[in-house]
């Protein structure tokens, strides 16, 4: 069959399947398989369908997926986050805008030990939102702060998105981690600025309400002063928190282990933390491991689907056709990049981040290569968009997680979150296009770029 016609049919089918509510991995598998059959007939299937599931999964680099998730699970189930937030609450006493700022910074630091945005957002929602509300933040703003703070895990290394991108494009994961550092901090800073803006606006609009809130807050603080967490426990939490970050980054940077191995080491340190904090029992293992296998299975199933779909995309020669279609504007890479980021932004609004990365790489990577855009830069760039997508409607997993634990409606959080997202998107993506060095400079000086 004519390959333009096949591509047309498959794109239409994909959209229909997605809208009908088919699982993302099934959309990819079904479109890939049906596309291959239309293009080449059944004879092509044995060679691709038989071996791809094994070949995709049997990868040393991908051990990072189960192991970084396991590390995050161990840490979240150890109670470390609650303890650290308790300390933050003590530090920011009386300075109300500081608490929001610190929450976002904590989100960033949690991002440095966690690969998954939703899990971090859920735990931030649990511990941070009540504190923020006591300090006079409105529900939606507090929810947006926790969601945004949690979403930072997507860009601040280690990040599952960066790992998936590295594996799919054979870019060294270590270099991607280092390259994502500055843009990750930038996203955090833009979130803080957006937060301060919303906070000012809120206190200006209803000073009386804010005052009343503050009074409640003062009472709550007095109350909180009563329920004391033992200092030794706090000390252990702080020390272990720093130790986890230091182990991972120190270990990778000093050559004791590779970024891939860091997942295993981090998990062991996470387990030790939980042991020291007295949280390890059978349920601890059950909960952590079940979640780990679920998330791993989910990512891998989508990866297998994306692999088969990718084979269809390759055989249909779609990327080459797109490039020739884009020929007139290929001379202005910025324009093409703008187009690609707009498409990705919309896709990240609707579809889970990892799935988007895996679906679009077969199509976009050849275009990026043809544009002679740095592959590492592009990986960091789309991870930024993906991170921001975690707080945009209608599918913003970070927001859903926070809304779920706090009971604040997701719609009202999205209204504020969208403001965070648009501001951050324009500033960080704009800066990254204007100054690509933001992502490429650190890897080039640290020798991490292969």
């Amino acid at each position: 069959m004519d390959s333009y016609l096949v591509v047309g049919i498959i794109i239409f089918m994909m959209i229909m399947f997605l809208l009908m509510g088919m699982y993302i991995h099934s959309v990819l598998l079904a479109s890939g398989i049906i596309g291959l059959i239309l293009l080449e007939g059944f004879s092509i299937l044995p060679g691709l369908l038989g071996n791809e599931p094994f070949n995709r999964v049997a990868s040393y680099t991908l051990t990072t997926i189960p192991l970084f998730v396991l590390m995050a699970q161990f840490i979240l189930h150890s109670g470390l986050v609650q303890d650290i937030f308790y300390i933050v609450h003590k530090i920011s006493r009386g300075r109300r805008s500081l608490l929001g700022t610190l929450t976002l910074i904590i989100g960033g630091m949690l991002g440095a030990v966690s690969g998954s945005g939703t899990a971090t957002a859920a735990s931030l929602g649990q511990v941070a939102v009540p504190e923020l509300r006591k300090h006079g933040y409105s529900g939606p703003l507090a929810g947006a702060i926790a969601s945004a703070g949690g979403s930072l895990s997507g860009i601040i290394p280690p990040s599952i998105i960066l790992i998936l991108y590295g594996v799919a494009t054979e870019t060294p994961v270590g270099a991607l981690f280092i390259g994502a550092f500055i843009p990750g901090v930038l996203v955090m800073v833009t979130f803080i600025i957006a937060m301060l803006f919303y906070y000012r606006r809120e206190t200006k609009r209803s000073p009386a309400a804010a005052e009343a809130q503050a009074e409640i807050a003062a009472a709550a603080e007095a109350e909180a002063a009563e329920e004391k967490v033992p200092v030794t426990r706090l000390a252990v939490s702080v020390i272990m928190g720093f130790l986890i970050v230091a182990t991972i980054f120190g270990g990778i940077y000093s050559g004791i282990f590779t970024p891939t191995e860091a997942g295993a080491i981090g998990s062991v340190v996470g387990l030790l933390t939980a042991l020291l904090l007295g949280k390890v029992n059978l349920n601890f293992f059950k909960a952590s491991l079940t979640e780990t296998i679920k998330l791993t299975g989910m990512v891998m199933l989508i990866m297998i689907g994306a692999q088969i779909f990718g084979r269809f995309v390759s055989l249909s020669l779609l990327p080459r056709k797109l490039i020739s279609l884009l020929e007139p504007v290929m001379d202005s890479p910025a324009l093409v990049l703008l187009l690609i980021s707009a498409i990705l932004f919309v896709m990240f609004m609707f579809i889970e981040g990892a799935a988007v990365i895996l679906m679009t790489i077969p199509v976009f990577l050849p275009i990026i290569t043809a544009l002679q855009v740095d592959v590492l830069w592009f990986g960091v760039f789309i991870s930024v968009i993906c991170t921001i997508g975690l707080i945009t409607p209608p599918v913003g997993l970070s927001v859903y997680a926070v809304s779920g634990v706090t009971g604040i409606s997701s719609g009202s959080i999205f209204k504020v979150g969208m403001g965070f997202a648009v501001f951050s998107m324009i500033v960080v993506c704009g800066l990254m296009i204007a100054f690509p060095e933001l992502a490429t400079w650190l890897p080039s000086v640290s020798g991490g770029k292969g």
């Binding site: 191995e261 909960a287 780990t292 296998i293 998330l295 859903y400 779920g404």
Partner: protein, 190 residues
């Protein structure tokens, strides 16, 4: 009613099978964590790494972390999809859609089972192995976990199909046992 009791009894037995798979995956994940950590320690302290460790992890452990537990993962309802439009349909439309989606799903999965089975049988015939530290390790037995995992998912879908035929409320899961985090998120979406 009696039919439904048998249905859930059978589904319960099937659930045990999935749980066993989950436990295998979980245990291998833990082993992998300790194995890599041990390797790093040995390399740094005694400058000798586990010979062939990298290949063993890649070829044995990763597939065993992913495939045995896959049916459990599938049945748990964690897999992402776009639900926005779907939620707006009437129950009658929902049911037709679900039956249609399951039919496509089964068609695709059966193809995966068939061809991954052929691949595994072919691997057995060729005695497919991988080299690690100078020796060859048999690889083909691992291939069989793939058709097995996808066959279990086909069975899950058959249960789901029957449930949607018999019962009133259209559903994507036979028995919903969401995790804490999912419960939270689902609550929020509603």
């Amino acid at each position: 009613m009696n039919g439904m009791t048998t249905f859930y009894k059978l589904y319960g037995y099937f659930g045990v099978l999935k749980k066993i798979g989950l436990v295998i995956s979980a245990v291998v994940a833990l082993i992998m964590m300790f194995f890599i950590t041990y390797d790093v320690v040995m390399r740094n302290v005694f400058s000798s790494s586990i010979r062939g460790g990298f290949e063993i992890i890649q070829n044995y452990m990763m597939p065993l972390v992913v495939f045995p537990g896959l049916a459990y993962v599938y049945a748990s309802g964690v897999l992402p999809k776009m639900e926005l439009l779907f939620a707006k349909f009437s129950p009658a439309v929902k049911r037709i859609l679900i039956l249609f989606l399951i039919a496509i799903e089964v068609f695709i999965l059966v193809l995966v089972v068939q061809f991954s089975w052929t691949y595994a049988m072919d691997g057995m015939e060729r005695n497919t192995s991988f080299p690690a530290a100078g020796t060859l390790y048999q690889l083909w037995p691992v291939f069989f976990t793939i058709p097995a995992a996808f066959a279990l998912i086909v069975i899950e879908n058959i249960f789901l199909f029957i449930k949607n035929l018999i019962e009133k409320d259209p559903t994507f899961v036979v028995e919903y046992n969401p995790s804490e985090e999912e419960q939270i998120i689902n609550q929020a979406v509603k």
